[in-house]
Structure formats: C-alpha cells, structure tokens
Amino acid sequence: MNSEVVIAGVGQVPVGEHYHLSLRSLAAKAMLAAIHEAGDIRPQAVFAGNMLAGTLSRQSNLGALLTDNINLRGVEGTTVEAAGASGAAALRLGYLAIASGYIDSALVVGVDKYTDSVGADVDAALAQTLDSDYELMAGLTPVAQAALVMRRYMHTYNVAHEAFAPVAVNGHARAANNPNAMFRKAITVEQYRSAEDQVSPLNLYDIAPYGDGAAAVLLIHSDKLEKKPDHPLVRITGSSVVTDTLALHDRQEMLAWYAAAFSIERACRQAGIMPQDVDFFEYDDACSIYAALSVEAAGFARRGTGCEFIAAGSLPVATMGGQKGRGNSLGGSGVYQAVEATLQLRGQAGKNQVPGAKRALIHNLGGAAATAISHVLEL
C-alpha cells in the first residue's frame, strides 16, 4: 500500500431522540468506539464537526470538552463548523492534517445534540445557517429554502412532485436494514404520494428528520499504523471543499448546484477517477430535492432528470438510508456518511451491502449547497 490517509476505526450512535445523553456523552460513544475499533490508537488531534452546540446546548469549544471528557487531555482539539457539512469539514481537516505530514493520526467526530432545546428556538437555531441579515430576517427556514429550490426545479423542468418519491422510498428501505437508523421502516410510493404537505411543495417524506447523533472515524497515516486491525483499511483518495453564495438569492444559477459539481469533480480528479467509476454514492438528502440536484451535479444525470436516475437504481445511493432514513444529525451527517461508506467497502453493511463495492463517493452539503464537501473512499 502507498503511504496514504486511511480510516482505521469507525464508531456511530443510532440517530434519534437521546434525551438521556448529553452532547459530550453522545460524542464519547462514537469517539471511543472508533478508537477501540482502530486498535486503541490514541489520536494526536481531534476535529469535532458541530453545527449548533453553541446555540442549542449553550456550549462552545468542543475541542476541549470532547477530548477532556474521554481523557484525551493534551491532544490537539478544535471545532469545525460548516452548517450541515460540519462533519465532512472536520473529516477534510483531519485528512489535510495527516496528508500534510504534520500529524500522524486524528479522530474526526461529527456530533449534534438536536434535542437539548425545544420549541421555536430550535427552528431559529437551524435557520442560523441562512444569511441572517437577508434570509433569516425575512422569516426563511432551511426547509423553506429547499422548498423554494424545489418549486423552481419543478417549474423549470416540468417535474411532478411524485417524481421525488424514490429518494424517500430508497432511504426508508435502506434504513430498515440499518441498526443505527432513526426510522427503520420501509415506505411505499403511495405513502409518499399521500403524505401531509409540510412546506409546499415539500411533504413529510421530502424532509429528513432531525435527531441527535454522533459518528467518528479514526484516521491515520498508513505508514504510522503499528498494528493492522482485523478489518480492511479504507483509503481517502479524494477530498474537496467548495463554497457558493451563502444566500440562495445571490446564486447566479440557482439550479446549477455549482459548489456540489465542482467539489465532486475535484475530489474525483484527485482520486484519478470519474464519478461514474464509483460503486455507490452517498448523497446529501436533507431534503429530497437536494438528492436530485446532487446526482445531477455529479454528472450521473442530466439536469432535471436526477429523480429518474435515482428511480432507475443503476447506481446504489444513500446505501444505509441517507439522512432521510438514518436521520439528519446536522453536524454529524458527514461523518455518518464516512462511517457507512467504510462499512460498505469493508463488506460489513449487512443486508444493505453493495456487492463487491470498492470505491465510494460521499457528498455532504452545508445549507443549500453553500458549502459542498466530497470525499472519495477506496479499499
């Protein structure tokens, strides 16, 4: 094996309403699991991806808190925030730190404690990821932002609402087989079609449910691994972060999903592959429209045909349920994707296993693709 950044251990907590678990305990479960699975490696640094602890848990400086809590005192530790892509941003920093040669190992954890607050304040906290002066102050929410994109998409490409059913149907079917998923129950197209309208045109099944969650991966430079663990090592061969305008109204072309397209292109180019060369795609389906746009951004489908591509099923997507089925743990999501892709590549995905999977593309969004982060993982 070439000298590379590899995932030596993974850990995750089922996404859900963990009222009895605090932010730090939630994170600790995932962190300790990843450390242990990697062969009890003490990481030199911890990168914590988190979106809302400062607001919902009134807690900042997770770098210190989360390391202290599991007796990793003395190691490097910082928090990374990029809205819903906070987890993937932490993964990116962990990857860069090791690839640069400055450190040998890093523990990347994505965590959010959604249920620490209740009521309209929670919605206001989620809306912080919007342009506060010019979107939030108009009363916009992240879900409403997705609705604005979806309405325009349906209008521009003459796509019916029902076309988005495969995102939810696939997500729930996969989640049924994922012990860490929030909703382990398959749904039918008919259930999707008759679901209650939420933020039109989004209905109940177009919106991934928010929940508490924590996921962690232990990264290490392959040359520095003293004892190879029992499971196969998964390599990170491509990594890219691209930003776009924070506010939707500032986009040059709203349906182009430029940040997503460029981030996927750059991550794949680094890995020396084309997006079509991957065996499965973990997209960001915080709202179903984003899954369709991400599929198009990757070049798997022409504009306006993302839903058809997902429906056709030629490329496995959201193989453990995606955010729709596994749950949207905000800053946790990007790391859940890394954990799930690692399990797939190791052949540990159970009933959701993509046979012979060797290469994965994972793709996490902050806001309406204001930040897009892509990683290529390979055996």
Binding site: G119, A124, D131, D133, A138, G139, H249
Partner: protein, 135 residues
C-alpha cells in the same frame, strides 16, 4: 436585543436600497463589499424600484422564533426588474393564489419584534400583488 444590526440595515430594509457598481453598473441587492459581476469595490447606494415578479415561493406554517405570530406566511424569491433576486415575505394576499411570474411590488411592513413584545419593531420590505391598474 439586536438593536445595532437592525439600525445598521435600516436603509436596505425600509426602502430596498442596494448598490450600483461604479465600475460595471451592475445593480446589487443585498449590498455587498465587492461587486459580484466585476469584483470591483461596490459602494454607491442605489434605490431599487421595488417592482418584480415571483421567482419561487413557499408557505410556512411553523415560523421560527420571532415569526411564530406571523405564521402562516408566504415567503418568496422575488426577481427585481433591475435583475437581483431577493428573499422576502409576500403580504396582502388576501387568499389570492401565488404563482411563479406573478407581478409584485415592494411595501414596507412590520417584520417582527426584536425579542418579545417589549422589543423594538423591525420594519422592512415585503412584496404584495401589484395593485389594480390605476384608473
């Protein structure tokens, strides 16, 4: 209370004042530090006409904190006739259906209270269906 930021943005909010780029004459709203068209410094104030059309829209029945009492409300991306898109609530619909392409005009309305009912009232732009043609 967020008095300073509301005060700082009053021109933009009350009267849809953005910028015109002194280099490329691009019309900019909301105002920015650098022109998105030519990357020159943007700083010349420009009052938009307030006329535009609905580019996309949705309806919110569960408002976030500060907007609970406004819900249900319709929020839209409005394409201003000068070019930029702006995110704003639609008001004075009176049950009138909304469609993409519907002509709208800016009005200055109460947006929310800063904090609770003791806080200052924040006023700003919303859009309404264009009034009937004048006789």
């Amino acid at each position: 209370m967020e008095i300073p930021r509301h005060w700082r943005l009053k021109q933009q909010r009350y009267a849809l004042v953005g910028e015109v780029c002194p280099h490329c004459e691009g019309k900019i709203f909301p105002p920015r530090d650098v022109c998105p068209h030519c990357s020159g410094e943007a700083k010349t104030p420009y009052a938009f006409s307030g006329r535009g059309e609905v580019y996309s829209y949705t309806r919110i029945s569960d408002g976030p904190a500060g907007f609970e009492e406004s819900a249900p409300y319709t929020i839209a991306l409005v394409k201003l006739e000068e070019g930029p898109l702006v995110t704003a609530q639609l008001t004075d619909l009176g049950g009138q259906p909304v469609d993409i392409g519907m002509p709208v005009e800016m009005v200055t309305r109460r947006i929310r209270s800063d904090g609770d009912e003791r806080g200052m009232i924040v006023y700003g732009y919303k859009f309404r269906p264009v009034m009937a043609a004048q006789a």
